[in-house]
Assembly symmetry: C2
Homo-oligomer: 320 residues x 2
Protein backbone atom coordinates (compact mmCIF):
# COMPACT_ATOMS: atom_id res chain seq x y z
CA UNK A 1 0.00 0.00 0.00
CA UNK A 2 1.01 3.58 -0.66
CA UNK A 3 0.04 5.80 2.27
CA UNK A 4 -0.16 9.60 2.46
CA UNK A 5 0.09 11.10 5.95
CA UNK A 6 -0.70 14.77 6.51
CA UNK A 7 0.99 15.99 9.65
CA UNK A 8 3.47 13.15 9.10
CA UNK A 9 6.25 14.98 10.96
CA UNK A 10 4.12 15.47 14.06
CA UNK A 11 3.82 13.47 17.27
CA UNK A 12 1.24 10.90 16.19
CA UNK A 13 1.96 11.26 12.47
CA UNK A 14 5.65 10.38 12.69
CA UNK A 15 4.95 7.38 14.92
CA UNK A 16 2.38 6.22 12.35
CA UNK A 17 4.87 6.77 9.51
CA UNK A 18 7.44 4.58 11.27
CA UNK A 19 4.90 1.86 11.88
CA UNK A 20 3.64 1.84 8.27
CA UNK A 21 7.23 1.64 7.00
CA UNK A 22 7.96 -1.20 9.43
CA UNK A 23 4.91 -3.00 8.02
CA UNK A 24 6.44 -2.78 4.53
CA UNK A 25 4.38 0.02 3.02
CA UNK A 26 5.36 3.08 1.03
CA UNK A 27 4.69 6.33 2.89
CA UNK A 28 4.60 10.00 1.95
CA UNK A 29 4.57 12.46 4.85
CA UNK A 30 3.09 15.87 4.03
CA UNK A 31 3.90 18.48 6.64
CA UNK A 32 4.54 22.22 6.77
CA UNK A 33 6.90 21.68 9.74
CA UNK A 34 5.14 24.41 11.72
CA UNK A 35 4.82 22.10 14.73
CA UNK A 36 6.12 18.92 13.11
CA UNK A 37 9.78 18.11 13.77
CA UNK A 38 12.31 16.94 11.21
CA UNK A 39 14.17 14.82 13.81
CA UNK A 40 11.01 12.70 14.26
CA UNK A 41 11.52 11.53 10.67
CA UNK A 42 15.24 10.81 11.01
CA UNK A 43 14.76 7.04 10.82
CA UNK A 44 12.04 7.20 8.17
CA UNK A 45 14.24 9.39 5.98
CA UNK A 46 16.76 6.57 5.68
CA UNK A 47 14.08 4.32 4.18
CA UNK A 48 13.78 4.28 0.36
CA UNK A 49 10.03 3.69 0.70
CA UNK A 50 9.62 7.06 2.44
CA UNK A 51 9.27 10.62 1.11
CA UNK A 52 8.67 13.92 2.89
CA UNK A 53 6.86 16.71 1.08
CA UNK A 54 7.14 20.05 2.83
CA UNK A 55 3.78 21.61 2.17
CA UNK A 56 0.74 23.16 3.78
CA UNK A 57 -2.70 21.57 3.70
CA UNK A 58 -4.05 25.03 2.86
CA UNK A 59 -2.03 24.97 -0.39
CA UNK A 60 -4.63 23.09 -2.42
CA UNK A 61 -2.77 22.99 -5.77
CA UNK A 62 0.34 21.46 -4.14
CA UNK A 63 -1.79 19.08 -2.08
CA UNK A 64 -3.62 17.87 -5.19
CA UNK A 65 -0.33 17.10 -6.93
CA UNK A 66 1.10 15.44 -3.82
CA UNK A 67 -1.88 13.11 -3.16
CA UNK A 68 -1.79 11.64 -6.68
CA UNK A 69 -0.87 7.96 -6.80
CA UNK A 70 -1.62 7.08 -3.17
CA UNK A 71 -4.06 4.43 -1.93
CA UNK A 72 -4.96 5.76 1.48
CA UNK A 73 -4.77 9.15 3.19
CA UNK A 74 -4.30 9.65 6.92
CA UNK A 75 -5.32 13.22 7.64
CA UNK A 76 -3.64 14.08 10.94
CA UNK A 77 -2.46 17.65 10.22
CA UNK A 78 -4.38 20.05 12.43
CA UNK A 79 -4.20 22.96 14.76
CA UNK A 80 -4.28 20.97 17.99
CA UNK A 81 -4.13 23.98 20.27
CA UNK A 82 -7.46 23.62 22.02
CA UNK A 83 -6.81 26.11 24.76
CA UNK A 84 -6.22 29.32 22.85
CA UNK A 85 -8.98 28.97 20.25
CA UNK A 86 -10.69 32.19 21.22
CA UNK A 87 -7.42 34.14 20.82
CA UNK A 88 -7.50 33.62 17.04
CA UNK A 89 -10.98 32.47 16.04
CA UNK A 90 -10.18 31.78 12.38
CA UNK A 91 -7.28 29.38 13.02
CA UNK A 92 -9.37 26.28 13.73
CA UNK A 93 -11.69 27.09 10.83
CA UNK A 94 -8.80 27.38 8.39
CA UNK A 95 -6.32 24.79 9.64
CA UNK A 96 -8.88 22.15 10.57
CA UNK A 97 -12.15 22.65 8.67
CA UNK A 98 -10.96 24.18 5.40
CA UNK A 99 -7.82 22.02 5.47
CA UNK A 100 -9.96 18.87 5.76
CA UNK A 101 -12.03 20.03 2.80
CA UNK A 102 -8.79 20.51 0.84
CA UNK A 103 -7.62 16.99 1.68
CA UNK A 104 -10.97 15.58 0.52
CA UNK A 105 -10.83 17.56 -2.71
CA UNK A 106 -7.25 16.45 -3.36
CA UNK A 107 -8.42 12.86 -2.88
CA UNK A 108 -11.52 13.27 -5.07
CA UNK A 109 -9.67 14.70 -8.07
CA UNK A 110 -7.10 11.91 -7.79
CA UNK A 111 -9.59 9.09 -7.26
CA UNK A 112 -8.17 8.27 -3.80
CA UNK A 113 -11.12 7.05 -1.73
CA UNK A 114 -9.99 5.85 1.68
CA UNK A 115 -9.30 8.24 4.54
CA UNK A 116 -8.41 8.01 8.22
CA UNK A 117 -9.09 11.14 10.25
CA UNK A 118 -7.96 12.25 13.71
CA UNK A 119 -11.06 13.71 15.31
CA UNK A 120 -11.42 14.25 19.03
CA UNK A 121 -13.45 13.18 22.03
CA UNK A 122 -14.05 16.90 22.50
CA UNK A 123 -16.77 16.67 19.84
CA UNK A 124 -19.05 15.35 22.61
CA UNK A 125 -18.87 18.78 24.27
CA UNK A 126 -19.73 18.28 27.92
CA UNK A 127 -21.51 14.92 27.70
CA UNK A 128 -23.95 13.55 30.25
CA UNK A 129 -23.11 9.86 29.71
CA UNK A 130 -19.80 8.30 30.88
CA UNK A 131 -18.05 6.48 29.42
CA UNK A 132 -19.35 8.33 26.35
CA UNK A 133 -20.32 6.11 23.39
CA UNK A 134 -20.12 7.08 19.71
CA UNK A 135 -23.93 7.25 19.72
CA UNK A 136 -24.10 9.88 22.46
CA UNK A 137 -26.70 12.62 22.01
CA UNK A 138 -25.97 15.29 19.45
CA UNK A 139 -23.79 17.65 21.49
CA UNK A 140 -23.36 21.39 21.86
CA UNK A 141 -19.80 22.42 21.06
CA UNK A 142 -17.84 24.28 23.70
CA UNK A 143 -14.58 25.01 21.84
CA UNK A 144 -13.66 26.26 18.39
CA UNK A 145 -11.27 23.30 18.13
CA UNK A 146 -14.02 20.73 18.66
CA UNK A 147 -16.37 22.69 16.39
CA UNK A 148 -13.76 22.53 13.63
CA UNK A 149 -13.35 18.77 14.11
CA UNK A 150 -17.14 18.24 14.03
CA UNK A 151 -17.13 20.17 10.78
CA UNK A 152 -14.34 17.94 9.47
CA UNK A 153 -16.25 14.79 10.44
CA UNK A 154 -19.33 16.11 8.63
CA UNK A 155 -17.36 16.89 5.48
CA UNK A 156 -15.73 13.47 5.50
CA UNK A 157 -18.99 11.57 5.91
CA UNK A 158 -20.70 13.73 3.27
CA UNK A 159 -17.84 12.94 0.87
CA UNK A 160 -18.15 9.26 1.73
CA UNK A 161 -21.85 9.32 0.84
CA UNK A 162 -21.53 11.64 -2.13
CA UNK A 163 -18.39 10.27 -3.77
CA UNK A 164 -18.12 6.67 -2.57
CA UNK A 165 -15.26 7.19 -0.11
CA UNK A 166 -14.60 4.87 2.81
CA UNK A 167 -13.84 6.82 5.97
CA UNK A 168 -12.41 6.01 9.39
CA UNK A 169 -13.07 8.75 11.90
CA UNK A 170 -11.19 8.38 15.19
CA UNK A 171 -12.33 10.36 18.19
CA UNK A 172 -9.13 10.59 20.26
CA UNK A 173 -8.59 11.28 23.89
CA UNK A 174 -5.26 13.07 24.54
CA UNK A 175 -2.34 10.93 23.41
CA UNK A 176 0.88 10.40 25.38
CA UNK A 177 4.26 8.84 24.61
CA UNK A 178 7.42 9.26 22.59
CA UNK A 179 7.58 12.48 20.49
CA UNK A 180 4.92 14.13 22.61
CA UNK A 181 5.29 17.88 22.12
CA UNK A 182 2.45 19.60 23.95
CA UNK A 183 -0.12 19.00 26.65
CA UNK A 184 -0.32 18.77 30.38
CA UNK A 185 2.80 16.58 30.96
CA UNK A 186 4.81 19.00 28.84
CA UNK A 187 3.43 22.03 30.71
CA UNK A 188 3.92 20.55 34.18
CA UNK A 189 7.46 19.42 33.39
CA UNK A 190 8.41 22.79 31.89
CA UNK A 191 7.00 24.61 34.94
CA UNK A 192 8.80 22.29 37.38
CA UNK A 193 12.08 22.77 35.52
CA UNK A 194 11.65 26.52 35.89
CA UNK A 195 10.60 26.29 39.55
CA UNK A 196 10.74 22.92 41.36
CA UNK A 197 9.23 24.38 44.51
CA UNK A 198 5.81 25.55 43.35
CA UNK A 199 3.51 24.98 40.40
CA UNK A 200 0.38 26.64 39.07
CA UNK A 201 -2.42 24.24 38.11
CA UNK A 202 -5.20 25.39 35.76
CA UNK A 203 -8.66 24.72 37.20
CA UNK A 204 -9.10 22.95 40.54
CA UNK A 205 -6.97 19.88 39.77
CA UNK A 206 -10.07 17.69 39.90
CA UNK A 207 -10.69 17.65 36.14
CA UNK A 208 -11.05 14.02 35.04
CA UNK A 209 -9.35 13.10 31.77
CA UNK A 210 -8.56 9.97 29.86
CA UNK A 211 -5.29 9.47 27.98
CA UNK A 212 -3.87 6.85 25.63
CA UNK A 213 -0.33 5.76 24.84
CA UNK A 214 0.67 6.59 21.27
CA UNK A 215 1.55 3.03 20.26
CA UNK A 216 -1.81 1.84 21.61
CA UNK A 217 -3.39 4.63 19.54
CA UNK A 218 -1.61 3.50 16.37
CA UNK A 219 -2.45 -0.16 17.00
CA UNK A 220 -6.06 0.92 17.38
CA UNK A 221 -6.08 2.90 14.14
CA UNK A 222 -4.58 0.07 12.11
CA UNK A 223 -6.83 -2.55 13.72
CA UNK A 224 -9.98 -0.58 12.89
CA UNK A 225 -8.89 0.07 9.32
CA UNK A 226 -8.15 -3.62 8.82
CA UNK A 227 -11.45 -4.80 10.25
CA UNK A 228 -14.20 -2.14 10.00
CA UNK A 229 -16.23 -2.40 6.84
CA UNK A 230 -18.78 0.41 6.82
CA UNK A 231 -18.60 3.37 4.46
CA UNK A 232 -18.19 5.65 7.48
CA UNK A 233 -16.66 4.15 10.62
CA UNK A 234 -16.66 6.40 13.67
CA UNK A 235 -14.66 4.92 16.55
CA UNK A 236 -13.67 6.28 19.96
CA UNK A 237 -9.97 5.86 20.82
CA UNK A 238 -9.26 5.94 24.52
CA UNK A 239 -8.30 4.09 27.65
CA UNK A 240 -10.62 2.15 29.94
CA UNK A 241 -9.80 4.51 32.76
CA UNK A 242 -9.37 8.16 33.57
CA UNK A 243 -7.37 10.12 36.10
CA UNK A 244 -7.58 13.49 37.76
CA UNK A 245 -5.17 16.27 36.91
CA UNK A 246 -3.87 15.98 40.48
CA UNK A 247 -3.15 12.25 39.97
CA UNK A 248 -1.06 12.95 36.92
CA UNK A 249 0.79 15.79 38.61
CA UNK A 250 1.50 13.46 41.55
CA UNK A 251 3.01 10.79 39.27
CA UNK A 252 5.17 13.40 37.56
CA UNK A 253 6.40 14.85 40.86
CA UNK A 254 7.10 11.39 42.25
CA UNK A 255 9.17 10.49 39.17
CA UNK A 256 11.07 13.75 39.45
CA UNK A 257 11.50 13.41 43.22
CA UNK A 258 9.81 16.76 43.79
CA UNK A 259 7.17 17.96 46.22
CA UNK A 260 6.13 21.39 44.95
CA UNK A 261 3.46 23.61 46.48
CA UNK A 262 0.43 23.58 44.17
CA UNK A 263 -1.40 26.81 43.40
CA UNK A 264 -4.78 26.20 41.82
CA UNK A 265 -6.21 28.76 39.42
CA UNK A 266 -9.63 27.45 40.49
CA UNK A 267 -12.84 26.50 38.73
CA UNK A 268 -13.99 23.17 37.32
CA UNK A 269 -12.42 23.92 33.92
CA UNK A 270 -8.81 24.71 33.05
CA UNK A 271 -9.82 27.23 30.39
CA UNK A 272 -12.82 28.33 28.32
CA UNK A 273 -13.96 25.27 26.41
CA UNK A 274 -12.10 22.79 28.61
CA UNK A 275 -14.24 19.77 29.37
CA UNK A 276 -14.10 18.85 33.07
CA UNK A 277 -14.63 15.14 32.36
CA UNK A 278 -13.49 13.17 29.31
CA UNK A 279 -13.94 9.40 29.35
CA UNK A 280 -14.87 7.58 26.14
CA UNK A 281 -16.63 4.26 25.74
CA UNK A 282 -14.27 1.99 23.78
CA UNK A 283 -16.61 -1.00 23.44
CA UNK A 284 -16.68 -0.54 19.66
CA UNK A 285 -12.89 -0.30 19.41
CA UNK A 286 -12.45 -3.45 21.51
CA UNK A 287 -14.99 -5.31 19.37
CA UNK A 288 -12.34 -5.25 16.64
CA UNK A 289 -9.90 -7.08 18.91
CA UNK A 290 -7.81 -4.14 20.13
CA UNK A 291 -6.40 -4.11 23.67
CA UNK A 292 -4.67 -1.37 25.65
CA UNK A 293 -1.09 -2.19 26.72
CA UNK A 294 -0.08 0.76 28.93
CA UNK A 295 -2.06 2.27 31.78
CA UNK A 296 -2.48 6.04 31.95
CA UNK A 297 0.04 6.16 34.77
CA UNK A 298 2.60 4.19 32.73
CA UNK A 299 1.97 6.41 29.72
CA UNK A 300 2.42 9.61 31.78
CA UNK A 301 5.72 8.33 33.20
CA UNK A 302 6.95 7.21 29.78
CA UNK A 303 6.09 10.63 28.34
CA UNK A 304 7.97 12.36 31.12
CA UNK A 305 10.97 10.09 30.61
CA UNK A 306 10.91 10.91 26.89
CA UNK A 307 10.91 14.65 27.59
CA UNK A 308 13.75 14.28 30.11
CA UNK A 309 15.82 12.28 27.60
CA UNK A 310 15.11 14.76 24.78
CA UNK A 311 15.56 18.26 26.16
CA UNK A 312 15.65 19.65 22.58
CA UNK A 313 11.87 19.05 22.41
CA UNK A 314 11.21 21.55 25.18
CA UNK A 315 13.74 23.96 23.71
CA UNK A 316 12.21 23.78 20.23
CA UNK A 317 8.74 24.46 21.61
CA UNK A 318 9.93 27.38 23.71
CA UNK A 319 11.52 28.90 20.62
CA UNK A 320 8.27 28.57 18.65
CA UNK B 1 -35.02 46.24 19.03
CA UNK B 2 -32.75 46.65 16.05
CA UNK B 3 -32.60 43.40 14.04
CA UNK B 4 -30.14 42.38 11.33
CA UNK B 5 -31.37 39.68 8.94
CA UNK B 6 -28.93 38.00 6.54
CA UNK B 7 -30.81 36.55 3.61
CA UNK B 8 -33.49 39.15 4.38
CA UNK B 9 -34.69 39.24 0.76
CA UNK B 10 -35.26 35.48 0.67
CA UNK B 11 -38.34 33.35 1.24
CA UNK B 12 -38.18 32.99 5.02
CA UNK B 13 -36.05 36.11 5.55
CA UNK B 14 -38.48 38.53 3.91
CA UNK B 15 -41.43 37.06 5.78
CA UNK B 16 -39.45 37.49 9.02
CA UNK B 17 -38.55 41.08 8.06
CA UNK B 18 -42.23 41.92 7.54
CA UNK B 19 -43.18 40.38 10.86
CA UNK B 20 -40.45 42.21 12.81
CA UNK B 21 -41.48 45.51 11.22
CA UNK B 22 -45.14 44.81 12.05
CA UNK B 23 -44.06 44.20 15.65
CA UNK B 24 -42.56 47.69 15.74
CA UNK B 25 -38.83 46.87 15.43
CA UNK B 26 -36.11 48.35 13.24
CA UNK B 27 -34.79 45.89 10.66
CA UNK B 28 -31.79 45.76 8.34
CA UNK B 29 -31.89 43.12 5.61
CA UNK B 30 -28.50 42.06 4.28
CA UNK B 31 -28.73 40.12 1.03
CA UNK B 32 -26.68 39.70 -2.13
CA UNK B 33 -29.91 39.17 -4.11
CA UNK B 34 -28.48 36.03 -5.70
CA UNK B 35 -31.63 34.10 -4.82
CA UNK B 36 -33.36 36.78 -2.75
CA UNK B 37 -35.99 38.83 -4.55
CA UNK B 38 -36.39 42.60 -4.38
CA UNK B 39 -40.20 42.34 -4.81
CA UNK B 40 -40.37 40.38 -1.51
CA UNK B 41 -39.23 43.58 0.23
CA UNK B 42 -41.64 45.90 -1.60
CA UNK B 43 -43.76 46.50 1.51
CA UNK B 44 -40.79 46.63 3.88
CA UNK B 45 -39.07 49.20 1.71
CA UNK B 46 -41.89 51.66 2.33
CA UNK B 47 -41.22 51.47 6.08
CA UNK B 48 -38.84 54.07 7.54
CA UNK B 49 -37.68 51.51 10.12
CA UNK B 50 -36.31 49.28 7.32
CA UNK B 51 -33.05 49.30 5.38
CA UNK B 52 -31.68 46.92 2.74
CA UNK B 53 -27.93 46.49 2.38
CA UNK B 54 -26.93 44.72 -0.81
CA UNK B 55 -23.97 42.67 0.29
CA UNK B 56 -22.51 39.21 0.46
CA UNK B 57 -21.88 37.36 3.72
CA UNK B 58 -18.50 36.37 2.28
CA UNK B 59 -17.55 40.09 2.19
CA UNK B 60 -16.34 40.25 5.80
CA UNK B 61 -15.27 43.93 5.85
CA UNK B 62 -18.69 45.07 4.56
CA UNK B 63 -20.48 42.66 6.89
CA UNK B 64 -18.57 44.00 9.90
CA UNK B 65 -19.56 47.58 9.07
CA UNK B 66 -23.17 46.55 8.40
CA UNK B 67 -23.71 44.62 11.65
CA UNK B 68 -22.61 47.56 13.84
CA UNK B 69 -25.35 48.99 16.00
CA UNK B 70 -27.75 46.04 15.90
CA UNK B 71 -29.09 44.11 18.90
CA UNK B 72 -29.83 40.73 17.34
CA UNK B 73 -28.74 38.92 14.17
CA UNK B 74 -30.87 36.41 12.31
CA UNK B 75 -28.49 34.49 10.06
CA UNK B 76 -30.69 33.00 7.35
CA UNK B 77 -28.46 33.54 4.28
CA UNK B 78 -27.34 30.19 2.92
CA UNK B 79 -26.93 28.02 -0.08
CA UNK B 80 -30.12 26.02 0.37
CA UNK B 81 -29.60 23.84 -2.68
CA UNK B 82 -29.34 20.45 -0.99
CA UNK B 83 -29.65 18.35 -4.09
CA UNK B 84 -26.69 19.50 -6.16
CA UNK B 85 -24.08 19.68 -3.39
CA UNK B 86 -21.76 17.17 -5.03
CA UNK B 87 -21.76 19.19 -8.27
CA UNK B 88 -19.81 22.01 -6.60
CA UNK B 89 -18.34 20.70 -3.34
CA UNK B 90 -16.98 24.04 -2.11
CA UNK B 91 -20.25 25.95 -2.32
CA UNK B 92 -21.73 24.71 0.97
CA UNK B 93 -18.40 25.15 2.73
CA UNK B 94 -18.09 28.75 1.60
CA UNK B 95 -21.68 29.99 1.58
CA UNK B 96 -22.76 28.17 4.72
CA UNK B 97 -19.78 27.33 6.95
CA UNK B 98 -17.38 30.18 6.20
CA UNK B 99 -20.30 32.62 5.88
CA UNK B 100 -21.53 31.66 9.36
CA UNK B 101 -18.04 32.23 10.72
CA UNK B 102 -18.06 35.68 9.09
CA UNK B 103 -21.39 36.55 10.68
CA UNK B 104 -20.06 35.50 14.09
CA UNK B 105 -16.89 37.54 13.62
CA UNK B 106 -18.90 40.58 12.52
CA UNK B 107 -20.98 40.21 15.68
CA UNK B 108 -17.97 39.69 17.94
CA UNK B 109 -16.10 42.80 16.78
CA UNK B 110 -19.28 44.86 17.20
CA UNK B 111 -20.29 43.41 20.59
CA UNK B 112 -23.54 41.99 19.19
CA UNK B 113 -24.22 38.81 21.16
CA UNK B 114 -27.57 37.30 20.21
CA UNK B 115 -28.05 35.17 17.10
CA UNK B 116 -30.81 33.12 15.52
CA UNK B 117 -29.67 30.55 12.97
CA UNK B 118 -31.54 28.53 10.36
CA UNK B 119 -30.12 25.04 10.62
CA UNK B 120 -31.82 21.97 9.22
CA UNK B 121 -33.37 18.69 10.25
CA UNK B 122 -30.95 17.19 7.73
CA UNK B 123 -28.24 17.40 10.40
CA UNK B 124 -29.70 14.16 11.81
CA UNK B 125 -28.54 12.35 8.67
CA UNK B 126 -30.66 9.23 8.34
CA UNK B 127 -31.87 8.93 11.95
CA UNK B 128 -33.17 5.77 13.56
CA UNK B 129 -35.64 7.46 15.91
CA UNK B 130 -38.87 9.09 14.68
CA UNK B 131 -40.01 11.66 15.43
CA UNK B 132 -36.37 12.69 15.88
CA UNK B 133 -35.61 14.67 19.06
CA UNK B 134 -32.89 17.30 19.44
CA UNK B 135 -31.00 14.77 21.60
CA UNK B 136 -30.85 12.10 18.87
CA UNK B 137 -27.58 10.18 18.58
CA UNK B 138 -24.65 11.98 17.03
CA UNK B 139 -25.32 11.43 13.33
CA UNK B 140 -23.30 10.66 10.23
CA UNK B 141 -23.80 13.36 7.61
CA UNK B 142 -25.08 12.33 4.22
CA UNK B 143 -25.00 15.66 2.34
CA UNK B 144 -22.54 18.51 2.03
CA UNK B 145 -25.43 20.86 2.83
CA UNK B 146 -26.15 19.21 6.18
CA UNK B 147 -22.43 18.94 6.90
CA UNK B 148 -22.10 22.69 6.38
CA UNK B 149 -25.02 23.37 8.71
CA UNK B 150 -23.56 21.07 11.40
CA UNK B 151 -20.35 23.06 11.05
CA UNK B 152 -22.33 26.28 11.42
CA UNK B 153 -24.06 24.98 14.56
CA UNK B 154 -20.69 24.02 16.03
CA UNK B 155 -19.20 27.45 15.32
CA UNK B 156 -22.20 29.20 16.84
CA UNK B 157 -22.18 27.15 20.04
CA UNK B 158 -18.39 27.53 20.36
CA UNK B 159 -18.78 31.32 20.02
CA UNK B 160 -21.58 31.23 22.60
CA UNK B 161 -19.27 29.45 25.06
CA UNK B 162 -16.13 31.36 24.16
CA UNK B 163 -17.50 34.87 23.82
CA UNK B 164 -20.69 34.92 25.88
CA UNK B 165 -23.17 34.90 22.99
CA UNK B 166 -26.74 33.67 23.33
CA UNK B 167 -27.71 31.46 20.39
CA UNK B 168 -30.96 30.07 19.01
CA UNK B 169 -30.36 27.23 16.56
CA UNK B 170 -33.45 26.15 14.64
CA UNK B 171 -33.42 22.79 12.88
CA UNK B 172 -35.99 23.33 10.14
CA UNK B 173 -37.97 20.89 8.11
CA UNK B 174 -38.74 22.21 4.60
CA UNK B 175 -40.81 25.38 4.77
CA UNK B 176 -43.84 26.14 2.57
CA UNK B 177 -45.98 29.23 1.94
CA UNK B 178 -45.97 32.69 0.41
CA UNK B 179 -42.67 33.66 -1.34
CA UNK B 180 -41.63 30.02 -1.65
CA UNK B 181 -39.06 29.86 -4.47
CA UNK B 182 -37.71 26.32 -4.61
CA UNK B 183 -38.51 22.80 -3.53
CA UNK B 184 -40.82 19.99 -4.48
CA UNK B 185 -44.03 22.05 -4.92
CA UNK B 186 -42.11 24.40 -7.19
CA UNK B 187 -40.62 21.53 -9.19
CA UNK B 188 -43.89 19.61 -9.55
CA UNK B 189 -45.81 22.73 -10.58
CA UNK B 190 -43.15 23.75 -13.12
CA UNK B 191 -43.12 20.23 -14.61
CA UNK B 192 -46.93 20.10 -14.82
CA UNK B 193 -47.04 23.50 -16.51
CA UNK B 194 -44.61 22.17 -19.11
CA UNK B 195 -46.46 18.86 -19.53
CA UNK B 196 -49.80 18.32 -17.75
CA UNK B 197 -50.05 14.72 -18.94
CA UNK B 198 -47.02 13.13 -17.34
CA UNK B 199 -44.55 13.88 -14.59
CA UNK B 200 -41.21 12.47 -13.48
CA UNK B 201 -40.88 11.86 -9.73
CA UNK B 202 -37.43 11.52 -8.14
CA UNK B 203 -37.14 8.35 -6.05
CA UNK B 204 -40.10 5.99 -5.61
CA UNK B 205 -42.63 8.55 -4.38
CA UNK B 206 -42.69 6.90 -0.95
CA UNK B 207 -40.17 9.25 0.70
CA UNK B 208 -41.70 10.57 3.91
CA UNK B 209 -41.15 14.25 4.63
CA UNK B 210 -42.41 16.81 7.07
CA UNK B 211 -43.12 20.43 6.11
CA UNK B 212 -44.08 23.58 7.94
CA UNK B 213 -45.98 26.69 6.87
CA UNK B 214 -43.76 29.79 6.83
CA UNK B 215 -45.91 31.83 9.25
CA UNK B 216 -45.92 28.90 11.67
CA UNK B 217 -42.13 28.83 11.27
CA UNK B 218 -41.80 32.53 12.07
CA UNK B 219 -44.16 32.26 15.03
CA UNK B 220 -42.02 29.41 16.29
CA UNK B 221 -38.76 31.36 15.93
CA UNK B 222 -40.10 34.40 17.75
CA UNK B 223 -41.74 32.29 20.47
CA UNK B 224 -38.49 30.45 21.21
CA UNK B 225 -36.42 33.63 21.25
CA UNK B 226 -38.88 35.24 23.66
CA UNK B 227 -38.99 32.29 26.04
CA UNK B 228 -35.82 30.14 25.82
CA UNK B 229 -33.16 31.16 28.29
CA UNK B 230 -30.12 28.93 27.76
CA UNK B 231 -26.86 30.17 26.27
CA UNK B 232 -27.36 27.76 23.35
CA UNK B 233 -30.93 26.79 22.51
CA UNK B 234 -31.31 24.11 19.84
CA UNK B 235 -34.91 23.60 18.79
CA UNK B 236 -36.53 21.49 16.08
CA UNK B 237 -39.04 23.34 13.90
CA UNK B 238 -41.53 21.09 12.19
CA UNK B 239 -45.07 19.81 11.93
CA UNK B 240 -46.64 17.03 14.00
CA UNK B 241 -47.14 15.01 10.85
CA UNK B 242 -45.45 13.93 7.66
CA UNK B 243 -46.61 12.99 4.20
CA UNK B 244 -45.30 10.95 1.32
CA UNK B 245 -44.10 12.57 -1.90
CA UNK B 246 -47.04 10.87 -3.62
CA UNK B 247 -49.49 12.48 -1.17
CA UNK B 248 -48.18 15.93 -1.93
CA UNK B 249 -48.19 15.31 -5.67
CA UNK B 250 -51.80 14.11 -5.35
CA UNK B 251 -52.89 17.30 -3.55
CA UNK B 252 -51.16 19.42 -6.20
CA UNK B 253 -52.77 17.52 -9.08
CA UNK B 254 -56.19 17.68 -7.42
CA UNK B 255 -55.88 21.44 -6.98
CA UNK B 256 -54.82 21.82 -10.63
CA UNK B 257 -57.52 19.42 -11.89
CA UNK B 258 -54.87 17.20 -13.50
CA UNK B 259 -54.32 13.44 -13.59
CA UNK B 260 -50.81 12.99 -15.03
CA UNK B 261 -49.07 9.69 -15.54
CA UNK B 262 -46.28 9.39 -12.95
CA UNK B 263 -42.87 8.10 -13.97
CA UNK B 264 -40.73 7.20 -10.97
CA UNK B 265 -36.95 7.48 -11.18
CA UNK B 266 -36.87 4.74 -8.53
CA UNK B 267 -34.94 4.16 -5.33
CA UNK B 268 -35.74 5.11 -1.75
CA UNK B 269 -33.93 8.46 -2.13
CA UNK B 270 -34.61 11.30 -4.57
CA UNK B 271 -30.90 12.06 -4.94
CA UNK B 272 -27.55 11.41 -3.28
CA UNK B 273 -27.85 12.67 0.27
CA UNK B 274 -31.65 12.78 0.23
CA UNK B 275 -33.08 11.46 3.49
CA UNK B 276 -35.96 9.02 2.87
CA UNK B 277 -37.73 9.97 6.13
CA UNK B 278 -37.71 13.33 7.87
CA UNK B 279 -39.98 13.79 10.88
CA UNK B 280 -38.84 15.91 13.81
CA UNK B 281 -39.94 15.74 17.43
CA UNK B 282 -41.35 19.18 18.31
CA UNK B 283 -42.00 18.52 22.00
CA UNK B 284 -39.41 21.14 22.94
CA UNK B 285 -40.87 23.74 20.59
CA UNK B 286 -44.39 23.16 21.91
CA UNK B 287 -43.13 23.42 25.50
CA UNK B 288 -42.69 27.14 24.78
CA UNK B 289 -46.40 27.46 23.90
CA UNK B 290 -46.16 27.32 20.11
CA UNK B 291 -48.91 25.66 18.09
CA UNK B 292 -49.10 24.76 14.40
CA UNK B 293 -51.95 26.49 12.49
CA UNK B 294 -51.81 24.91 9.01
CA UNK B 295 -51.62 21.22 8.15
CA UNK B 296 -49.05 20.05 5.61
CA UNK B 297 -51.84 19.61 3.08
CA UNK B 298 -53.09 23.17 3.66
CA UNK B 299 -49.54 24.50 3.40
CA UNK B 300 -48.91 22.64 0.13
CA UNK B 301 -52.11 24.02 -1.40
CA UNK B 302 -51.37 27.54 -0.18
CA UNK B 303 -47.88 27.32 -1.70
CA UNK B 304 -49.30 26.17 -5.01
CA UNK B 305 -51.87 28.96 -4.98
CA UNK B 306 -49.08 31.47 -4.32
CA UNK B 307 -47.06 30.20 -7.28
CA UNK B 308 -50.13 30.28 -9.53
CA UNK B 309 -50.90 33.87 -8.50
CA UNK B 310 -47.25 34.96 -8.94
CA UNK B 311 -46.00 33.52 -12.22
CA UNK B 312 -43.00 35.90 -12.10
CA UNK B 313 -41.51 33.69 -9.35
CA UNK B 314 -41.23 30.73 -11.70
CA UNK B 315 -39.96 32.96 -14.49
CA UNK B 316 -37.29 34.55 -12.30
CA UNK B 317 -36.03 31.13 -11.18
CA UNK B 318 -35.94 29.74 -14.71
CA UNK B 319 -33.87 32.73 -15.80
CA UNK B 320 -31.41 32.11 -12.95
Amino acid sequence: MNYFVTGGAGFIGSNLVDRLLADGHRVTAYDNLSTGQRPFLADASKNPRFALIEGDVLDLPLLKRAVAGHDFVFHLAANADVRFGTHHPDRDLQQNTVATFNVLEAMRVNGVKRIGFSSTGSVYGEPEVFPTPETAPFPIQTSLYAASKVAGEGLISAYAHGFGFQAFVFRFVSILGERYTHGHVFDFYAKLLADPHQIEVLGNGKQRKSYLYVQDCINAILTVIAKAGDAVNVVNLGADEYCQVDDSLGWICERLGLNPKCQYAGGARGWIGDSPFIFLDTTKLKSFGWRQTLSIREAVVRTLDYLRANPWVLESRKAA
